[in-house]
């Protein structure tokens, strides 16, 4: 595993994360992510043969609820925080996607 990331590797992760990074951030993260993962490498040395992963510590989920129609968030309330909301039409507007 890299103890230091290349600029291209960092840029590739940034694309996956939908983050536009500038040159200085790419440089900084190349070093820092390498440092953190080098530290995390000690975890990879532990023998975990046959050990199941823990994704959640919930022992017992709350009971299912009946599938009933109930009031939900009012449309105007839902749109109130939109950076570009079309309140009359009831839409969130985004930059042009097609053609």
């Amino acid at each position: 595993m890299p103890s230091r990331f290349t600029r291209d590797e960092v840029a590739a992760i940034a694309v996956l994360a939908s983050l536009e990074l500038d040159a200085s951030e790419i440089e900084l993260f190349a070093r820092q992510l390498g440092d953190i993962l080098a530290y995390a490498d000690q975890v990879r040395q532990i023998d975990t043969t046959g050990v199941p992963p823990t994704a959640s510590v919930v022992a017992r989920l709350a009971a299912d609820r009946p599938d009933e129609v109930r009031p939900s968030l009012d449309r105007d309330d839902a749109l109130a925080n939109a950076p570009d909301g079309a309140l009359d039409a009831g839409f969130f507007r985004v930059p042009r996607v097609i053609g």
Partner: protein, 523 residues
């Protein structure tokens, strides 16, 4: 620099005192509220514990309590001013998570804990500063500037619930809510000299908490006394249909557990874990606290948590993976900030969009497509630590590295959990496990900011209880020679907050730490 007056209600009163004064009508809720607001106005400019203070809303609420005394006669928090960490949604009150991304976000609903506090008679006075999206250990990652520790203004209050810990320590409110993903209630409580409890995972509903790492996040109270924390937990705890991870376990009367009797209690001490890297003054204070508990009749037992020393790397692999997924929702479409793009007008009531594409953008200022709008929004809306964690989390979840990092970390999480299970239910079981909350007292603002890894190590004793989903409390246990508070952390069995609170309260009875005032409040 020094606030006055010192004889105000906030300085002398605990949650229980305030509640009793209001219920007996010795003081009105409005008087109590005005006292808290004037204290915030006088002291908070030096501390920056609050992002938002809602004076008018709080006074209106206090007036409504005073108008209807019969309704609130038995309310557990009648007229008690409360501060909320700014990652808890409050209807019609700005909720920022201390991020530019949510700088003008106004939630359309209340978090369940907010509804429960208000149903119990509490008066919400404001939203407290924290690390951005609750990521950090010092409160320095707030987009709105750091919080200053009331015990030493050049030091951090810890994090991420640093504003809430500071508000309680500086007597701005008698109680506050925080959230804890890897120590974010307990560590600032220790560094500010207050009591902070992270309940068992599932004990308190998280509906309306802005998500950081969903398998770890819990909401909990910070107060000056164990009793106040127990009282507040009783209000917060219990199942909630809106949060499928909230637990069905019955909620006991936590204050009834505070008997002062710890005779026969078995307190585990993981000596091997705390041997290294702990400041000598912190060790001394914690050892004296253990002696005090022994003197009260508790038995100290050596326990071994062999995998706890891997908790920091496991935590930063698991939590960043979850965070990278949770924070994918901030895309500049439905709420929050949007970088210059699209129609360039904020048509919503609260949303923020830049009117023109911003200058100096790395890929030019041309009108952008949807994907680059996402990327520019996130680039400008998130601060450096949040970006770092999203990057790390994205990497550990990516094809080719998932098994090596994320899956491996989840397996070691199982081993950490088993260590605790063995300590609590094995051949020589203990009731609670004691260790320092933090290896050092509060550090200076800026001291660790340049080295993220060094900052992560501040959480070395708090993250393992988070990974195991166990309840843990930090209770003040003394001061360093520089008059900086030190915290004792106790970790308990799942859903056994009662034992945890009983032991912490018994210890507190032997000490006067909670009565000490930070220098900013002395004349």
């Amino acid at each position: 620099m020094t606030a006055e007056p010192d004889d105000s209600i906030a300085v002398v009163a605990t949650v229980r005192d305030v509640r009793d004064l209001v219920r007996s009508r010795a003081r009105s809720a409005v008087e109590v509220c005005r006292d808290a607001l004037s204290r915030i106005a006088a002291v908070d400019p030096h501390l920056h514990a609050f992002n938002t203070v809602v004076a008018d809303r709080a006074l209106a609420r206090a007036e409504s309590i005073d108008r209807d005394p019969d309704r609130w006669r038995d309310a557990p928090l009648a007229g008690v001013p409360v501060a909320l960490k700014d990652n808890l949604c409050t209807r019609d009150v700005r909720t920022t998570a201390s991020s530019r991304m949510l700088e003008s976000f106004v939630p359309p609903y209340d978090a369940t804990v907010v509804s429960r506090l208000e149903a119990a008679g509490a008066v919400i006075v404001g939203k407290t500063n924290c690390d951005e999206f609750a990521m950090g250990s010092s409160n320095e990652n707030s987009a709105f500037g750091p919080v200053h520790n009331p015990w030493a203004l050049d030091r951090t209050p810890g994090g991420t619930s640093g504003g809430s810990a500071t508000a309680v320590a500086a007597r701005l409110t008698p109680v506050a809510l925080g959230s804890d993903t890897g120590g974010s209630i307990r560590q600032p409580a220790a560094m500010c000299g207050v009591v902070g409890l992270k309940p068992t995972y599932g004990r308190v509903s998280r509906y309306g908490l802005i998500a950081h790492a969903s398998s770890l996040d819990q909401i909990g109270p910070l107060g000056r006394t164990v009793h106040d924390v127990a009282l507040t937990l009783g209000v917060l705890a219990g199942p909630d249909p809106a949060d499928a991870t909230s637990a069905l376990e019955p909620v006991p009367d936590y204050t009834a557990a505070l008997t002062g009797d710890v005779r026969g209690a078995r307190i585990g001490v993981p000596r091997a874990l705390v041997e290294q890297g702990v400041d000598a003054e912190v060790s001394r204070a914690v050892n004296l606290a253990l002696d005090a508990l022994k003197w009260r009749g508790a038995t100290l037992v050596d326990v071994d948590l062999p995998h706890a020393r891997y908790a920091i790397p496991v935590y930063y692999l698991v939590s960043t993976a979850e965070a990278s997924s949770n924070l994918a929702r901030y895309d500049g479409v439905r709420y929050g900030f949007r970088a210059g793009a699209g129609r360039g007008t904020a048509n919503g009531t609260h949303g923020t969009a830049e009117a023109v594409p911003y200058e100096g953008a790395p890929y030019g200022a041309a009108p952008c497509d949807l994907k680059s709008m996402y990327a520019k929004t996130r680039a400008r809306g998130f601060g450096p630590e949040v970006k770092r964690r999203i990057m790390l989390g994205t990497y550990v979840l990516s094809a080719g590295y998932y098994d090596a990092y994320y899956l491996k970390a989840q397996q070691v999480r199982t081993l950490i959990l088993r260590d605790y299970e063995h300590a609590f239910t094995g051949t020589d079981p203990v009731d609670v496990i004691a260790m320092p909350t933090s290896p050092t007292a509060a550090f200076r603002i800026g001291e660790r900011a340049a080295d993220p890894l060094q900052m992560y190590l501040a959480d070395v004793f708090t993250v393992s209880a988070s990974l195991a989903g166990l309840p843990a409390i930090s209770v003040p246990c003394g001061f360093t020679a520089d008059r900086l508070p030190v915290g004792l952390q106790l970790t308990g069995r799942r859903f056994d907050e009662a034992t945890l609170l009983r032991v912490a309260d018994a210890y507190e009875r032997d000490t006067g730490w909670s009565k000490q005032l930070p220098p900013i409040l002395s004349r």
